[in-house]
Amino acid sequence: MTLTPVITEHWNDPTLYTLDGYRSHGGYRALATALKSDPDAVIATVKDSGLRGRGGAGFPTGLKWSFVPQNDGKPHYLVVNADESEPGACKDIPIMMANPHALVEGVIITSFAIRANHAFIYIRGEVPNAIRKVAFAVEQARAAGLIGKNILGSGFDLEIVVHSGAGAYICGEETALLDSLEGYRGQPRLKPPFPAVAGLYASPTVINNVETIANIPYIIDRGVDWFRQFGTEKSPGFKVFAVSGHVNRPGIYEAPLGITMRELLEYAGGMRGGVDVKFWLPGGSSVPMLTAEHLDIPMTYEDMAAAGTMLGTGTPMVFDSTVSVVKAVTRWLEFYKHESCGKCTPCREGTYWITGVLEKFEHGHGSQEEVETLTHLCNQIAGRSFCALGDAAATPYPAALKYFRDEFDAATHTPVDETFDPRASYVFAEAAAR
């Protein structure tokens, strides 16, 4: 499958982040089109396109929009989830730094469709350079009359607020994000009510990922048929893949859904030093890992699910055979423990416990009994926690155990740093080589 730059097509134009630059490539054409149409037609188009959320869950975007009650007399809100904090995910921040107007245009069109007069872009606080680029784009769009009152003479009014987060992975969970946006601790809310009915300030709210929204102008501009040329029936469209890890050319590769990891690897220059792929994760640390056997599975929502994992954020992390899977899993669990919001018992206590046990394995002090205990503990979290962070925390270990049990066995007696010289995994020459 070929690479198909769409969102990334003009990233090599250093003026793309400006309004003029974006416009010179046809930017804001879709907005004019949408505003001449009507909100329901826009929703219908997005529904027909089959676009699925790029934030990880893959929920059909048009369907989500259609849940917003109409004529309910309440304000509606659009909230863009730009919290990108999933380990391994690194596509939304680049999109915002390189092509912020695609997001802004998408926000305006989406707000029009769901009849929102206020939109919020919640960007994680650790990335000021994405925040300033988006804020700049919003300012330029406002100055050009693309945001504000009576946009392009359509009678549609919109304000966009850029909000910076303050450091909490859980705020990427959509209801936690809403609490955070309202100024509270970012802990997930009980559902129902769902945000589409009672979200931000208890009003109907649509929450979408950055990449999802950045797709909108292209769909509106180029049409459903064009969009559906990419990908599969169930996973139409293109995807901004961010390939990281032990590849020769880590970076952003935009391609249709359905491309395989082997193809992506090839475009990314293959594995560093020709070493084998040991394990890889299609989209973030919260999806189960795969191995070299799975390189030919199409990267679609449905095929990844069939392989026992998920497309997730579509940002593959690839590790070669220098890496200790025990160490990788331990580090991810340390992350989940650090980021657990504390609300529910399984995740709060489970991540604390599991991390403690894994750290013993890392130092060669695990036991066979604990190999099983860890499995139980993950089962005691998965499906029982309050939100998906808990489920995510219960993901790395069982997958790793499935493919690399021997490494956990070894870690019952030998510290992983002895089995796997950490320096061998470094991507710089300085301390590499055994």
Partner: protein, 171 residues
């Protein structure tokens, strides 16, 4: 307020000093060398995680994935990207900062100081959007390969206008 402040890692409960130094030690960065970078900096500064140096110049923190895994190992200075660091280049950045030299983010503006970034975050904007380069070779990796291989997305069809579902606004 305490409840909120203690929930978020970016709200610090002690003075950070002039520069906040973050080193990503989440799995991917850590394995690709972030641990070594962190160790080198900690040794160089003589401080550990979440600690300021005595002279108030630096504050070191192990940070989580910075959404820059393609640029691992990742360091941040006052939350601006310092991509693809090695122990040596990382320490060199600190030395240059300490000497008051001009240091540029690899994907962003000139490094200012921690307080300036805090202001940017508080107002969710500043006037530095036009400064520095935010797109680098790794962000262009796919585009570059596509160009080399002559690949592109299917041609853009003639503009299509979604049919209004009500007759109201036909122009």
């Amino acid at each position: 307020m305490t409840a909120v402040a203690t929930f978020y890692t970016m709200y610090k409960r002690r003075p950070v000093g002039k520069h906040h130094i973050g080193v990503c030690t989440n799995t991917l960065c850590a394995l690709l060398g972030g641990d070594a970078v962190y160790d080198a900096i900690a040794e160089h500064l003589g401080v550990g995680h979440n600690e300021p140096t005595a002279d108030g110049e630096f504050f070191l923190e192990r940070i989580e994935c910075q959404a820059a895994c393609t640029h691992a190992p990742v360091m941040t200075v006052d939350w601006e990207f310092m991509d693809d660091v090695t122990p040596t280049t990382a320490v060199d950045v600190l030395d240059r900062l300490e000497r008051g030299e001009e240091v540029w983010s690899t994907r962003g503006p000139r490094i200012r100081n921690f307080d300036a970034t805090e202001r940017t975050l508080a107002f969710a904007s500043d006037d530095l959007a036009t400064e520095g380069n935010s797109v680098d070779a790794k962000m262009l990796a796919g585009l570059t390969v596509a160009a080399e291989l002559g690949m592109s997305a299917p041609a853009i069809p003639a503009p299509s206008i979604p049919a209004p579902s009500s007759p109201a606004q036909e122009n």
